[in-house]
């Protein structure tokens, strides 16, 4: 482009549209762009990667950094307060309890990515738990209001039916939100209430005991130590190989790919984390006798994480979810079927909450009406976990792994406070503060709320 | 120069309906009939068209009230629903929801949502009850109420700052507030099982007790009501007349007359119900419960604030188009913060009423904060307030609250055995969903503010 030597650069300004005027921040689009590109895409070497990553963190998009820092802080703090915190017994305990939060957070993320919220996940979990328990009641146990003679379902059938019911609930809520465009917090708030009532009806006033061994094992059972190591090896090798070859082939074809050292470090990190977990689990954590080995629920949670990550990152459906969260109008004009995608997200959220419910039932074993009432508080923790993990409340930003990481934080806080003997009211207060803090961080990291809000 | 009827034109940026309307025809449907009508007949024609266009105002809630009254009258045992004693009980119960609703409405008008009002209400009640305890601190009743309202206002203000200046979404902030204060109540009460009580024989504490439980002397009730009706009626009449005389837009005279007549009829009906002796054989309980004039006073306050002050005007403006309000120089953070503060203060007073309703006993079980919020939001929406902002009035809270109270009480009257507890959850949930569904569907064509921007 020819320039007049004596004149300053006269490039036409990329001005904002008139509707974004008073007090306008005119973005220096070129300069702004650098901060927002994920470092793995532009970096050619490890050093450059770290530089670009640091610039991005300072620009506000810190990804999982806050939550990792949070995990370290919380766990170190509690370990100092009570040295039993990171002992083998407690850590596995902690992971087991966190699994519920992780699953609920992963469920919540489906709604949050759309820019919506699902307040009913806690009660979907509760309803799933009591439904599961009632379905496997042996014949003759006249307990449930809706099935007076005990249906005696086999455990696998009960699980399938429960999950289908959950998906149906998600579909109903999703339809109201996606097709009638009712606000999601109201629909799921109403859903929460209705589900609470339905759960109470299912329980019919009597507590129910999960009397099925296989279902009990879901939460409390574990692999043998040897199997644990084999599983770890399989997982690490599989993910390592697939990551390596994918990145290598992209690099070979000249496509955008992170530097090789970056991939290697990622694989190593996964391996190290896996080894740590298996080691901890294989230590004897029983008060009497021996309990050793990786609990069944770890691979269950991992499988859900894996499935949803693939769905959100690698499929068209997932792409559309992020698109709707980022700019629904643009997605609509691009031909994305908004009602369908939105409805399915709520179905998947309810499904994940249902899985959480199965684990929950297995964990509690003895389900009473108080359990139903307490299921309510889980939703706040799920939202807090997702936001702490890095998912934005405003939509379009977040990953399934955030649910896992956030769940570890919340589980750690809850477990730690319990170990320290803090009363439940104060725990409520504490969780509220954590939620507020997470929300504040989310807003601040977005530079003041969703772009375009006044 | 007038607009040619029936012109088809592309939509200007910022225009309400995305459909290509025959603008003239659409315009007629959306203009409040009382503005255009010159005669009563014209008014009803225009009103009918407005109904068909989807903006039904108070009609759904009034129709719902009639349906609910008839339905419950038929299905409750001994057709007890419409007995005066039950009706007065419904009035008393509803007042809590009415007040909560009126507080929530100002936040809804902004296009936000305050989920903490249930917990804040209980906080307000606990604070007031604690302050009025003998031997200490033994505040006079008006001081106890004032301090309680102040504390709740501060709570609301803090939440408002987080929403308005830090820009955390309101439902996160108020959700956190809900949790926080639910825990705080137990801490303030000193444990989950303790309770605070009022002694009705103590004249200072009796004031709070009598809010719900005490009644005004029958004669005084009739006289006072008569005076109030006459005053309000004349103000309405003369204002309309003077506007008509000076050539400003005003509804036809017959419409004003009908409105005054309806108001008088409602007052007479309520008074009549309250005058019937509801104490049975052993006692004479008659007269208007104190809480009714108190709540009507609150209604008057909020109506005046929203319709006749600059602050109220700005609330509606922000709900309708925050950018327009900002450009006009309105300080959005200021208005928003104040609204949350006033909402919480109003909720605090509702909490005081709640304690009085439960015979002056305050424990952590006296109310479920979650249920309180849901009922009051449902009441507001059923009454006609929009969840998306910019549309609603204080009276919606009163009518919606009455309906919610009637439903809640009616359900409890029916002996449903084990179903009764679950129904306490299911029914408000279903009612809320229905109300919102009606709100959303009925506004398909007339989306303003946040609703217009939703894709």
């Amino acid at each position: 482009m020819a320039r007049i030597d004596s004149d300053p650069l006269t490039v036409p300004v990329a001005a904002n549209s008139s509707s974004d005027v008073a007090g306008a921040n005119v973005d220096l689009t070129a300069a702004a762009g650098v901060e927002e590109v994920p470092p793995e895409l532009v970096a050619q070497s490890m050093g450059e990667y770290l530089r670009v990553y640091w610039r991005r963190v300072r620009g506000g998009d810190s990804g999982v950094l806050p939550v990792v820092v949070g995990i370290i802080l919380v766990y170190v703090a509690f370990q100092i307060a009570d040295s039993k915190f990171l002992g083998a017994q407690n850590v596995v305990n902690l992971l087991e309890q966190s699994s519920i939060y992780m699953l609920l957070a992963m469920a919540e993320i489906f709604a949050l990515l759309l820019g919506e919220i699902d307040l009913s996940t806690g009660l979907v979990m509760g309803l799933a738990a009591v439904t599961l328990a009632e379905l496997v009641q042996p014949a003759g146990a006249a307990n449930c209001a809706l099935c007076p003679h005990g249906l005696a379902f086999p455990w696998w059938l009960a699980i399938i039916v429960t999950l289908l019911i959950c998906m149906g609930i998600g579909g109903i809520q999703g339809t109201m939100i996606a097709r009638f465009r009712m606000p999601s917090f109201i629909v799921t708030l109403g859903g929460l209430l209705i589900l609470e009532g339905v759960s109470l009806i299912v329980l019919n006033g009597n507590p129910v005991r999960l009397g099925n061994l296989q279902l009990y094992d879901i939460f409390w059972g574990h692999f043998s130590t040897m199997v644990g190591w084999i599983l770890l090896a399989v997982v690490v090798v599989a993910t390592g190989v697939s990551w390596w070859f994918r990145d290598a082939s992209r690099r070979r074809r000249g496509l955008v790919a992170p530097p090789a050292s970056f991939t290697a470090i990622k694989i190593a990190a996964v391996a190290v984390a896996g080894v740590v977990v298996v080691l901890l689990c294989n230590e004897n954590r029983a008060h009497f006798g021996i309990i050793e080995g990786v609990p069944y629920l770890i691979p269950i949670v991992f499988a859900v994480l894996f499935a949803w990550t693939i769905l959100l990152q690698r499929t068209r459906f997932g792409r559309y979810v992020y698109a709707i969260g980022g700019n629904p109008e643009a997605a609509r004009r691009a031909g994305v079927n908004l009602p369908s995608i939105r409805t399915w997200c709520f179905v998947l959220a309810a499904l994940t909450a249902g899985i959480a419910g199965i684990l929950f039932a297995s964990w509690q074993v003895f389900l009473t009406t108080n359990i139903i009432k307490s299921a309510n508080s889980y939703v706040l923790l799920a939202v807090a976990a997702a936001v702490i993990g890095g998912t934005s409340l405003f939509g379009g930003r977040g990953k399934t792994i955030h649910g896992v990481l956030g769940g570890i934080v919340i589980g750690g806080i809850y477990n730690g406070l319990y170990l320290l003997g803090v009363q439940s009211e104060w725990v409520d207060v504490g969780i509220a503060l954590v939620l507020l803090a997470a929300g504040t961080i989310d807003v601040l990291s977005r530079g003041g709320g969703r772009p375009g809000t006044t | 120069m007038t607009l040619t009827q029936g012109t088809l034109e592309p939509v200007a940026p910022g225009e309400a309906a995305p459909d290509v309307d025959l603008t003239a025809a659409a315009g007629v449907a959306e203009v409040p009939p009382e503005i255009l009508a010159q005669s009563l007949g014209e008014y009803f024609r225009a009103y009918w068209q407005k109904l068909k266009g989807g903006d039904s105002g108070l009609l759904p809630v009034l129709v719902a009230m009639v349906i609910v009254a008839i339905a419950f009258e038929l299905i409750t045992p001994e057709n007890a629903f419409l007995r005066p004693s039950n009706l007065v009980y419904i009035f008393e119960l509803s007042t809590v929801y009415m007040v909560l609703s009126m507080g929530e409405i100002v936040v809804l008008l902004l296009g936000e949502l305050d989920l903490s009002i249930g917990a804040v209400a209980l906080m307000g009640g606990v604070i007031a009850y604690k302050l009025i305890q003998t031997p200490s601190p033994n505040f006079p009743w008006w001081a106890a109420i004032l301090v309680s309202l102040l504390c709740c206002g501060v709570i609301g203000g803090l939440q408002g700052i987080l929403v308005a200046r830090v820009r955390i979404p309101a439902f996160v902030v108020t959700l956190g507030g809900f949790l926080f204060f639910t825990g705080m109540i137990v801490i303030l009460l000193g444990g989950a099982d303790t309770s605070l009580g009022l002694d009705p024989t103590n004249p200072n504490q009796a004031v709070l007790y009598n809010l719900e439980q005490g009644n005004i002397n029958v004669v005084v009730s009739w006289v006072a009501t008569g005076v109030v009706v006459v005053i309000l009626g004349s103000i309405t009449w003369f204002r309309a007349a003077s506007r008509r005389r000076s050539g400003l837009v005003a509804p036809p005279a017959s419409l004003a007359a009908i409105r005054i007549a309806l108001m008088a009829a409602a007052a007479v009906a309520v008074l009549a119900i309250c005058t019937v002796n509801r104490g049975g054989v052993f006692a004479t309980i008659q007269g208007l419960p104190w809480v009714i004039p108190v709540v009507l006073g609150i209604l008057g306050f909020w109506t005046l604030l929203l319709q006749q002050t600059r602050y109220g005007r700005y609330v509606y403006a922000i709900g309708g188009n925050p950018e327009a309000a900002r450009r006009a120089g309105v300080s959005l953070p200021w208005i928003r913060t104040w609204s949350f503060a006033l909402c919480s203060a109003t909720a605090g007073f509702a909490g005081i009423l709640l304690g009085s309703f439960y015979y002056g006993q305050y424990s952590s079980n006296v109310g479920d904060p979650g249920q309180l919020v849901l009922y009051s939001v449902a009441a507001a929406v059923i009454g006609g307030t929009s969840l998306f902002g910019g549309r609603g009035k204080a009276i919606h809270g009163v009518l919606g609250g009455l309906l919610i109270g009637a439903i809640a009480y009616g359900v409890s009257l029916m002996n449903l055995g084990t179903l009764s507890i679950p129904l306490e959850y299911i029914l408000p949930g279903a009612v809320l969903l229905l109300a919102v569904l009606v709100d959303v569907l009925s506004r398909r064509g007339a989306r303003t503010g946040k609703d217009a921007a939703r894709v």
Binding site: - | T7, A16, V28, N321, A325
Partner: protein
């Protein structure tokens, strides 16, 4: 903002008098990007000045500099002959400079009177003085001959595009304003509505205001403008009475910075910028 001059009716200056608003040597850059370069502009009272330019020419930036949203890096603004500093929107309003942006900034749920007085309500002992506001709003609309609204109390959401534009314009001019800037007032309006708005613009001029209309609809511009000011890539390449232009020359100025019949000797054209130049603008 005195009460008596609310309709902006003032003396009708002759065309040779000092322009009401004068910009001299305005520079504005954003980072490395020069948005305006040595821009001069005259806005005389009682005339309509059409500001033209292609996307990215700097029309919006110039408007916002006058309106107080941006501060120029160099140059001077003169109002009624005196140099002024417009640091924020309030300063512009205090001088009597009003802007009507493209999105109109109207609240659909409020009626016409409430919108016109938004932010500047009249109160009587803290209560809104509805009657007096209604009367004034009615007089303003009548003075501008906006008669197509059925009732001044109908919600703005129920108005047509042209009526909304009229209300937005009336809202701008009722406050003793002397300069009115209209950003794309006829964009997305149909034929009849456009006529309504253009008639309104002429009436503003007849009341003695200095009106600037930003538009890239040349039909509308030629219909209503007394003067044209054309921007090209941040420079003012032509500014003269409208009669001295024809459509051809205006287009040439807008797209190349020169016109076959009237080259500006001090101006050397740049190569055409890439697609990036056609950024979203007014």
């Amino acid at each position: 903002m005195s009460e008596e001059n609310e309709h902006g009716v003032g003396p009708h200056p002759s065309a040779t008098a000092e322009p009401l608003l004068k910009l001299r040597g305005i520079d504005k850059h954003f980072g490395a990007v020069q948005a305006l370069y040595h821009v001069d502009l005259d806005l005389p009272a009682g005339q309509v000045t059409g500001l033209c330019g292609d996307n990215g020419a700097g029309k919006s930036v110039l408007t916002r500099c006058i309106a107080g949203v941006h501060q120029p890096d160099r140059g001077q603004i003169y109002f009624e002959g005196r140099p002024v500093h417009i640091r924020q929107a309030r300063d512009a309003a205090a001088l009597g400079i009003e802007t009507v942006y493209q999105d109109l900034a109207l609240a659909d749920n409020l009626d016409i009177v409430q919108n016109m007085f938004l932010g500047r309500e009249r109160t009587h002992y803290q209560m809104l003085d509805e009657d007096s506001m209604e009367r004034s709003a009615g007089e303003t609309l009548a003075g501008l001959r906006v008669t197509s609204v059925r009732s001044i109390r109908q919600p703005v959401g129920s108005l047509s595009g042209g009526q909304r534009q009229s209300v937005a314009v009336a809202k701008a001019v009722m406050w003793n304003s002397k300069v009115v800037l209209l950003d794309e007032p006829t964009a997305a309006l149909g034929v009849v509505q456009t006529r309504m708005v253009l008639d309104l613009v002429r009436r503003l001029r007849d009341h003695g205001l200095a009106v600037m209309v930003i538009s890239h609809n040349l039909n509308d511009v030629f219909e209503v403008a007394d003067r044209l000011a054309i921007l090209h890539l941040g420079r003012m390449v032509a500014e003269a009475p409208a009669a001295s232009f024809d459509r051809q020359s205006v287009v040439e100025y807008m797209t190349t910075g020169v016109s076959g019949g009237r080259p500006d000797p001090s101006y050397t054209p740049l190569e055409q910028p890439a697609e990036a130049a056609a950024e979203t603008e007014a």
